[in-house]
Amino acid sequence: MTLDDIRNEWRARDEALQAKLAQQSAMLRDAMIERHLEKLRRQGAMSPFSMAVWIAFMACFGLFLAANWGRWEFFFPALLLQIWTVAMGALTFIEHERLRSVDLSAPVLEIQRRLAALEAERARAFQWAFLTGQVLWWIPFTIILFWGLFGVDLYRLSPFMTQFIAVNVAVGLAAIPILLWLSRVFGPRLARAKRGRALLGSVTGRDLAQARAFAERLAQFVAKA
């Protein structure tokens, strides 16, 4: 055995060492991913409280609709609210499933890109939920609340009320294109600011924020490996 043979053997052992450490790193990455997925699976799309509130509202609107079939001035606002409530709940489940379906074994940059796209989608969904909600949950909700709980017909309370209802609904509808324009103009700047990012994090959901933090940890882990 010459010194060169020993050197070649040393190189072979070094390659085996490198391969073993890479394998170890891959196993650790898989374990990290599995732990994160398990956490996501346990979390669920909605907390038990949110789920209970959602079901309660759907049930109440459903009962109201059944009781007010034919009274269209009450039926249609309640129908719009019911559709909005069901849609928001369904959207929450869909968004959660889309987050769970992100392939965490993909390259980290791909994961981060996918999560950023989901964040943008959720921000847009929240924007439309807010724009439509600010119309529905003011006057229409107040009308059916007063009728449903107190038997008070706000339409006939006074002539002023009819005008008030009409003006408020019109203003709410008119605000939609204005708010959309404002978000296009100021949105990018706000998204770059620290407070803007914090606000974005709070509206796009804790599960997505956790996923992005996990992707950041994974990126650091992969960079070291």
Binding site: T2, I6, W10, R13, D14, L17, K20, L21, Q24, K224
Partner: protein
């Protein structure tokens, strides 16, 4: 020997110096392990020596200006630390760094494959610290000029010492034969 990018590069923008160093250290841990392997038989001692080397690298990091390749710089600092460690010089540093290295996995993967290699390592352990450094760097693929630059001695000194080491090992064991001219 492949050279890595210098520690502070564009992708590191936004990271603190500590984060950059820790990322750099992660990439050098295999080197530190092999140096510790040559100098320490005991697994616990290897981990201690790796910590010592890591701390000294951290302290020297701000003065690394990228004039040499990062791996070369690591060898220069770490081998000197290992030599001092074996000689018992300097006080042991009490700081620690988060060395996320699976030494037990490395010990298994890097174990001598046969009895001949085991005997060789036993012989290497009988060498003095500087000679071990020469053997390590030779096994790592450095040429005489590079070894000389790393250890701060002349290339002819390296050749002479390596020949003496080979002669010593040859005298003590039939393992090493003369290299072909």
């Amino acid at each position: 020997m492949t050279a890595l990018a210098p520690p502070a590069t564009a992708p590191d923008a936004g990271r603190s110096e500590e984060q950059r160093f820790l990322a750099f250290l992660e990439s050098q841990q295999r080197i530190l392990y092999k140096i510790a392997y040559i100098y320490c038989r005991d697994a616990e001692e290897r981990r201690d020596l790796m910590q010592e080397m890591a701390i000294h690298l951290w302290r020297a990091y701000p003065s690394f200006e990228g004039r040499s390749a990062p791996t070369t710089w690591t060898y220069r600092v770490a081998v000197n630390v290992a030599i001092s460690y074996r000689r018992g010089q300097g006080r042991r540093l009490r700081e620690t760094l988060p060395l996320d290295f699976a030494t037990d996995v490395a010990d298994q993967a890097f174990a001598p494959p046969n009895e001949q290699t085991q005997r060789l390592h036993a012989l290497i352990e009988t060498l003095d610290e500087m000679s071990r450094a020469l053997v390590l760097l030779y096994l790592e693929g450095f040429d005489h000029g590079e070894i000389a630059a790393l250890l701060g001695i002349s290339a002819s000194n390296v050749s002479t010492r390596l020949n003496r080491i080979k002669a010593k090992l040859q005298a003590e064991h039939d393992l090493i034969k003369d290299d072909a001219p």
